[in-house]
């Protein structure tokens, strides 16, 4: 069978080219997306600040919840769910002393790590290499990496030593801001790890050991690192440490880096969701397109299959032939697709690094298993699609080879209806039951789109039959070409469906993503505007604003009201599963409100209380007055009473906590912005009392930097998706046209001029594109309208007319081009009809 498959491949290079192209791209995208996801999942923090330590003890960096459920037959099931924190719980101050007494320990260093905003006295912000965060430590921590002095001396109180990279951009004096306030310090030395200027992804500032506790505002160290005598048994030491450390984590070897402050390490949570989405989207599109292409190319070869039947091939042999062929084609495609996947991953990663979606240190690792998995997946999909398409085709009667046309035995309506019913039901269930205004909204709207697309593909010929009637009556008027196009498209429903489905895919997937993202961005912007509308101005400070200074700003003469917000993240449990949410610490002063959260129920403020967004309240089934446990950024648990439910949470956060609580428990704990209401010359007075302050009009406060980065990531994702689906459209049109050589030759003999055939192709493409766009618009409309209604109760279908028109124009134009170009190759304008049929 393999020999026959090989020879039919050689004989039909042209007809397998379409499958090859689809498989090549599908495997490349699967491999590329897989490599990106695997690389980001296994990405290790780029530098080990504890390289010189044998064992590092650090407070837990996650919230761990254990739920025990008793099932039938007295089976007890224990589930442990964790959620990573942005901060770290501090360790007991005496732990270092106790650990130092262990055998083979030469020193126990109490390590403090605190995020620091650093700037020059003239207000210039100082960041680490590639915009990395700057972390402050006590000088004792320098020995853990180790950083050694290149020049100068260790810091005394009021002095600092910088890493060599920061030192290049800093002067003699530095202004550092932490949650405890702003200090001016003198640079007295430059230190660096062996062989480099600093650690990648974090800048280091060393303060005097006497200063660091007050600057960080913590009672104890964030980690205790043990230096051991050379040749000491690390495992035994770690075991001994575990007995003393309680629930704190004990880290050795490559794991030591995890003991560092979470905020000091690059964050891969955003990239993981984006790359997961890249893989999901391209994976779906690739499988979808590949299945369609294989099915189409099997159907084009019915006549040849019938000939083989005449020659004595059994249906089983044909099935095996189709299977063997598809595996061969996909196998050859994998040889090119897998390396292409590496290129795809590298190109995407490079662009994402530029957009700062991933840290500058992110590197694509070439995992062989990912490449193999992509190749195998591509081959399996091709194989399954060929077998499925061949299921009925191989039962073709041998006599069909002798007749002009070969037709697949009709039937199989029931499985099509079943698939469509199941996928549509899935989509409806998703759109009905998943809260689309939550964090899963965009992802779920994509899954619903994918399910609806499967239903469209399953029902393709039926839907096309419904649509081609009216559409071809409109687009088929005038001239022989129009008349013929209307008849042909109505007769060849399966072919029209096969070509239209990639157009539906291209339109629906991309339009849903673009429109939903545009809607979310629009809503976030308008909510931001509405939130800040009561304020006269927003005050921020690029070099960092601590709560104390923010209070002084709020207390400036002439200010009638102020709202101080501190961005943070908190963890709330739902059904035994800790979940991390964006939150804000809020302090309001004065009599006039400077922030309008659109409180629906209850009232903001009051000690030991918090407010939650309407979405979160609904999710958790909270009521005003409920007491809820909340884990703060450092893992500290507090019980707060729900005092208010508010609406305007987009681009802000789902919880509002007392500002003092956030400042005390978030290691960063700096103020994001202060909304002020005032009359008179407040800005001038502010400039005098708080140097470096920036006063901007209330409107126009742009989205946070993170959101802007994510937006860039989404846009690149759209480019990939548009590109791939566009290739699929062109590929399908080409396969469908090339296989119609015979038909075109027959038309030429019946008296059609080449020009008439080109006009015929244009009309057919017009009808096909109209069918595709109509179905695409229906799928898009259903998903976007539901998504939009879930956001704010307003049902929108178009959302952004310009984007919508661009999508229609782009997809439609591409479809017309793809319909016209191949026929120009098959039927040249100045040639005689092809006679050999």
């Amino acid at each position: 069978m393999m020999r026959l498959a090989l020879s039919t491949l050689r004989g039909h290079r042209g007809s397998h080219l379409g499958t090859f192209v689809a498989a090549l791209l599908a495997i490349a995208l699967l491999a590329g997306g897989g490599l990106l996801l695997a690389s980001v999942l296994t990405a290790r923090p780029p530098a080990d600040r504890f390289a010189a330590a044998a064992v590092v003890v650090a407070g837990p960096h996650e919230v761990k919840l254990t739920t025990t459920t008793t099932k039938k037959k007295d089976k007890v099931k224990t589930k442990v769910k964790t959620e990573t924190l942005t901060g770290s719980r501090t360790l007991p101050a005496d732990l270092a002393g106790r650990l130092a007494a262990l055998p083979s320990v030469t020193a126990a260093v109490a390590d403090v790590a605190v995020p620091v905003r650093a700037g020059t006295p003239d207000g210039r912000v100082l960041r680490g290499a590639d915009g990395a965060p700057v972390i402050g430590h006590g000088w004792a921590s320098a020995a853990l990496t180790p950083y050694t002095l290149r020049s100068g001396r260790p810091p005394n109180p009021g002095e600092v030593v910088l890493d060599a990279d920061l030192a290049r951009r800093a002067g003699d004096t530095l202004v550092i801001t932490t949650r405890t306030g702003t200090r001016q310090v003198r640079v007295v030395g430059v230190a660096a790890p062996d062989g480099r200027d600093g650690l990648p992804a974090q800048g280091a500032i060393f303060l005097a050991d006497a200063d660091i506790g007050a600057v960080a505002g913590t009672a104890g160290p964030t980690a205790v690192a043990l230096l051991a005598a050379p040749g000491a048994d690390t495992a035994a030491l770690a075991a001994a440490v575990r007995d003393l450390a309680g629930d704190a984590g004990v880290h050795t070897g490559a794991d030591r880096v995890r003991a560092d402050l979470p905020g000091a390490l690059p964050d891969y949570i955003g990239p993981i969701s984006i790359f997961g989405f890249v893989l999901g989207l391209t994976g779906f599109a690739a499988v979808f397109v590949l299945t369609g292409t294989v099915t189409l190319s099997v159907r084009q070869r019915l006549r040849e299959l019938a000939l083989l039947r005449t020659a004595g091939a059994t249906p089983g042999q044909l099935r095996r032939l189709l299977g063997a062929e598809s595996v061969l084609v996909a196998g050859v495609a994998a040889l090119g697709g897998a390396p292409l996947g590496i290129v795809v991953a590298e190109v995407v990663a490079a662009r994402f690094r530029q957009l700062a979606v991933v840290p500058a240190q992110f590197e694509v690792r070439t995992y062989a298993f990912v490449l193999v998995a992509a190749a195998v997946a591509g081959m399996l999909v091709t194989f399954a699609a060929a077998r499925l398409a061949g299921r009925r085709a191989v039962r073709i009667a041998p006599t069909q080879a002798l007749t002009e046309t070969a037709n697949v035995p009709a039937g199989g309506l029931a499985p099509r209806l079943l698939v469509a019913a199941v996928t549509t039901a899935g989509a409806v269930a998703l759109l009905t039951f998943v809260p689309l205004d939550g964090p899963l909204g965009i992802g779920m709207s994509f899954v619903a789109t994918a399910l609806l697309l499967c239903a469209v593909a399953a029902l393709g010929p039926l839907l096309v039959r419904l649509l081609t009637g009216p559409i071809s009556r409109v687009l088929g008027t005038g001239g022989a070409a129009g008349w013929l196009a209307a008849l042909v498209t109505r007769a060849e429903r399966r072919r029209v469906a096969a070509v239209a489905v990639p157009l539906v895919l291209m339109f629906a997937v991309n339009a849903v993503m673009l429109l939903n993202n545009a809607l979310v961005a629009d809503l976030a912007e308008s909510e931001q505007a509405a939130r800040t509308a009561p304020a006269t101005a927003q005050v921020s400070m690029p070099a960092g604003l601590d709560l104390g200074t923010a209070r002084r700003v709020a207390g400036t003469d002439g200010v009638t009201g102020a709202a101080i917000t501190l961005p943070t993240r908190v963890v709330v449990a739902q059904g035994g599963k800790p979940q991390d949410y964006a939150a804000q610490g809020l302090l309001t002063t004065g009599t006039a409100p400077a922030l309008d959260l659109s409180v629906r129920e209850g009232a903001l403020g009051g000690p030991e209380t918090f407010a939650a967004s309407a979405y979160l309240t609904r999710q958790h089934g909270w009521h005003v007055g409920d007491e809820v446990p909340v884990w703060l950024a450092d893992g500290h648990q507090v019980r707060l009473r729900l005092s208010a439910v508010y609406e305007r949470a987009r681009g802000f956060g789902d919880l509002v906590l007392p500002a003092g609580l956030v400042a005390a428990h978030d290691p960063a704990g700096l103020v994001g912005a202060v909304g002020l209401r005032y009359t008179g010359d407040v800005p001038a007075r502010l400039a005098a009392t708080v140097p470096g302050v920036r006063v901007t009009p209330a409107l126009g406060a742009g989205p946070a930097g993170d959101a802007a980065n994510q937006q860039g990531g989404w846009e690149l994702l759209m480019v990939i998706s548009l590109g791939f689906t566009a290739i699929a459209v062109v590929n399908t049109f080409a396969i469908a046209t090339v296989s119609r050589r015979r038909e075109y030759a027959g038309l030429r003999l019946a008296g059609a001029t080449p020009g008439q055939l080109h006009r015929l192709a244009l009309r057919e493409a017009l009808i096909t594109v109209a069918v595709g766009l109509t179905l695409g618009a229906i799928v898009t409309g259903v998903v976007v309208a539901t998504f939009s209604t879930a956001q704010d109760g307003i049902t929108r279908i178009v959302v952004d007319p310009l984007t919508y028109l661009a999508m229609i124009g782009g997809v439609g134009g591409l479809g017309l081009l793809a319909g016209l170009l191949p026929i120009r190759l098959v039927v040249p304008r100045r040639s005689l009809p092809a006679l050999e049929a």
Partner: protein
Amino acid sequence: MRDSGTTVVELTGVTKSYTAGIRALDGVSVTFGSGSFTAVMGPSGSGKSTLLHCAAGLDRPDSGRVLLAGQDIGGLREPRLTRARRRRAGFVFQSYNLMDSLSVWDNVLLPQRLAGVRPDRAWARDVLRRVQLDGREHARPAQLSGGQRQRVALARALAARPEIIFADEPTGALDLATGRAVLALFREAVDDLGTTIVMVTHDPVTAGQADRVVFLADGRIVADLTEPTPERAAAQMMAVVAR
């Protein structure tokens, strides 16, 4: 045999070579009179089909002149060549060349639609009745037998009232009885409608139905038989092959 004096197609010194210098036609001159039924015979590779294609304007000769109803089509380029062809000529091929996606009725009217003329529906109905396919107008070619399909192809050729019909092995894919029935229709078209037919065949019995048989060998006309019978055609064919 009316008007056999006027010439519908005239080939003068037509030469046609394909690759490797093989001459499919080597200076062929022949005329086909109006209302005549001519069979073209010859061994495989003798240039029968090439002669038909050149005469019909489906292929362009290397040298020589082809007049179709008085118009020199040798020098015409697309799309004017197609326009000239579809106005003057109809085609019937061994492989029918019907459009699968069109009904019998639409297939019959196709050439006129393509020519942009108002289809003569009454005549088309008449033609379909003559080929005994009335009642099957809405059938698809795939639902018809081979003989029925070839009759649709003939009806299509006749419906446009061409001056000449070119047929290439029209009975080649049909069984004996069906082939005979189709040939009888050809004969009827010539006798009743005054159509000119040029038909390529390798079968002496088929050729015996024609008024004249032209024999080709190695791209030249080697014999020209009028009033043939199957026996005479067969004998002449033997002689040509034996040459």
